[in-house]
């Protein structure tokens, strides 16, 4: 799945430092240590110039990770097959948002998005092909799905037209559609997010 956020404002020239582990914090099962004590620990760590703090005692375990503006953008990860963003500031780039709102630079657009990116339990259905996105089989038909609809694997969600062929895009999960991410009739690229769904 492609996040489509290309250039982070800071130059990620040092991938080694840019790949922090991101684990969801374990739920604190309090035992030997009381809640107040944990709180005071957390407060202390917050004051210190730490990036990460892991703590384990008995069956209790917690981990703190700060993401300051100094820290590399969390969405940027590198795999060997992926190269670094070519040069830092995307000064020449604009990203047209799906909304008719004025065009927004990528990071800003992301910040304004009502759907939090990569939230646990949220699944994105992406386009397997390049083409034009249609929500219904023809202009007079109703949309295949709307936010709020519960979908099953294999259910048709939309059509991506390419080379005069109408390609039905099917759901790969069971869940509830919470947002349609592309406007009807708009072009989409490979890996582009079409729908956000809550799995379940």
């Amino acid at each position: 799945m492609s996040t489509r956020k290309k250039a982070s404002p800071s130059k990620p020239s040092a991938p080694a430092s840019a790949a922090p582990s991101r684990r969801a914090p374990s739920a604190p099962k309090t035992s030997s240590m009381g809640l107040d004590e944990i709180k005071s620990l957390i407060a202390l760590v917050g004051k210190e110039p730490f990036q990460e703090f892991e703590f384990e005692a008995g069956d209790m375990k917690f981990r703190i990770r700060k993401d300051s503006i100094h820290a590399p953008a969390p969405q940027v990860t590198y795999s060997p097959a992926q190269s670094a963003t070519p040069f830092g500031s995307p000064v020449n780039h604009l990203m047209a948002s799906a909304q008719p709102a004025p065009v927004q630079a990528a990071p800003l657009a992301a910040a304004l998005s009502p759907v939090p990116l990569d939230e646990p339990g949220i699944h994105y259905i992406t386009s397997p092909i390049v083409g034009t996105f249609y929500r219904s089989s023809n202009p007079s038909s109703p949309s295949f799905v709307n936010p709020g609809d519960v979908v099953r694997p294999g259910q048709t969600l939309c059509i991506v037209e390419a080379m005069k062929l109408m390609n039905e895009i099917e759901s790969d999960i069971s869940g509830e559609i919470i947002k349609v991410l592309v406007e009807n009739g708009q072009p989409v690229e490979y890996g582009e997010r079409l729908f956000a769904a809550r799995v379940g």
Binding site: P80, H93, A96, A162, L181, E192
Partner: protein, 475 residues
């Protein structure tokens, strides 16, 4: 336009001396050639669409195109070779034409047909020409008919000594007798005259029998120190075909060109005239248009033989651009848009000398690919140096595609000046993080054979043996 297809801030186009041949062109390629086409488009005022695989998200051709479309995952078959995805990308961006670069879909006649069916202009010749020239047998038959010299040989198996003698007389000595089932030098004999032919013929047959269990042999002309000489051709839609002189591409390893130059030191003005005229004749025989290359093998004695035609721009086109001053890629775009050639044969002048070194991300002595991250980079500059590359410091060379990092092109008023410039260009080239073939090139630039110009397509083999021996001696 949706979020998918990012648009850059496009500057107000400046007043141009010529109308752009196209409004928007999609480049169905990656790496330096994709960037090269983008540069040509920019110079002509054409908007560009880059397509890219997920592995190339941060590639320079993506960065410098006006629009970009991700067309699939890293494997070429699923992205750069995926015809429906490429066509769909052209459709959704409204690109009028597709430049295929070299490799990938550039010589795929089916792709050209799909382009045509979808009303997209393919920047190259038509599918019939591509198909004809892509089929070895058909290409040879066409050339034979057009009177272009082919490598002489027997028609299949030579059954008897008498037939061998007749055939040898026909194709001219020296000849080589080869086992039909053969390979690796066994069952192979070179004969210089009719006296030694009967013995050689028989020895070859017995060797073939022992080695392969089959004593069938065939014969071919044996080329003494052949050179790979190719001629750049350009033709428009109105039947105008010109050549842009020859390129010397004999420095090859396993049929991979390493170094190219123009002009060739092995060619006299008279021979140049003959070989270039023959190339134009060959192109005319297939009604060729757009850029193409006719490859010949040139014998020590000045005989040359058609090998194949490439119906696309070549990796080594810059050396021709440097000596002629003609921008081949811009001319390709103009031709595809139906414009006439902007120059006549008389206006094509080879001036000075140009050498190109292909710098690959490979071990310079073992040629094992070396993908990875470029941690430090300095490309040479100054007079007479051109660099065609899509690399930058911190870029990652994926293992998925070819290993070319950059083409270094040196120009001089004569070969010695070009050579001196290439040496100092290599001496001031810095690429860290991956191994490259630059040290190999630097060594070749100092070799007496290369300096004197006395080399054939077989030279690299000898040279690598020398290198190997040296390395062993050094421990």
């Amino acid at each position: 336009m949706a979020a998918a297809i990012k648009r850059r801030v496009v500057r107000q186009p400046a007043p141009l001396s010529e109308e752009p041949p196209f409004k928007k062109v999609l480049i169905a390629n990656r790496g330096e050639i994709a960037l090269r086409v983008i540069l040509a488009c920019k110079e002509l005022g054409i908007q560009t669409v880059a397509v890219y695989s997920e592995a190339d998200r941060n590639a320079l051709h993506v960065r410098f195109a006006d629009e970009e479309v991700c067309i699939g995952p890293a494997p070429s078959a699923k992205s750069y070779l995926n015809i429906p995805q490429v066509i769909a990308a052209a459709e959704v961006t409204g690109a009028e034409a597709i430049h295929p670069g070299y490799g990938f879909l550039s010589e795929n006649a089916h792709f050209v047909e799909v382009c045509q069916a979808c009303g997209i202009n393919f920047i190259g010749p038509n599918p019939e020409i591509i198909r004809k020239m892509g089929n070895k047998a058909q290409a040879k038959a066409t050339m034979l008919e057009a009177g272009v010299p082919l490598m002489p040989g027997s028609d299949g198996v030579v059954e008897t000594v008498e037939e061998a003698l007749v055939t040898a007389e026909k194709i001219g000595y020296p000849v080589i007798v080869k086992a039909s089932a053969g390979g690796g030098g066994r069952g192979m004999r070179i004969c210089n005259n009719p006296e030694e032919l009967p013995d050689m013929y028989n020895t070859a047959r017995s060797e073939a029998k022992i080695a392969f269990g089959d004593d069938a042999v065939y014969m071919e002309k044996y080329l003494l120190e052949p050179r790979h000489i190719e001629v750049q051709i350009m033709g428009d839609l109105y039947g105008n075909i010109v050549h842009l002189g020859e390129r010397e591409c004999s420095i090859q390893r396993r049929h991979q060109k390493l170094i190219e130059e123009s002009p060739s030191g092995a060619i006299s003005p008279e021979l140049r005239q003959r070989i270039c005229d023959m190339a134009v004749k060959a192109a005319r025989a297939v009604g060729y248009y757009n850029a193409g290359t006719i490859e010949f093998l040139l014998d020590k004695r000045g005989d040359f033989f058609f090998m194949e035609m490439n119906t696309r721009v070549q990796v080594e086109h810059p050396v021709t651009e440097m000596v002629t001053g003609i921008d081949i890629v811009k001319e390709q775009l103009r031709i595809a848009a139906g414009q006439r050639l902007t120059f006549t044969q008389e206006q094509v002048v080879q001036r000075g000398h140009a050498i190109e070194c292909r710098i690959n991300a490979e071990d310079p002595w073992k040629f094992t690919p070396c993908p990875g991250r470029i941690t430090a980079l300095n490309f040479p500059g100054g007079p007479g140096i051109r660099v065609d590359t899509a690399m930058y410091q911190d870029a990652v060379i994926p293992p998925t595609y070819d290993s070319m990092v950059a083409k270094l092109i040196a120009y001089g008023n004569n070969r010695n000046e070009a050579l001196a410039r290439m040496r100092r260009a290599l001496d001031t080239l810095v690429i860290e993080g991956v191994k490259t073939t630059a040290p190999l090139h630097r060594k070749i630039m100092d070799h007496p054979d290369f300096i004197s110009g006395g080399f054939s397509t077989k030279w690299m083999e000898t040279f690598m043996e020398e290198v190997e021996a040296e390395r062993k001696a050094e421990g």
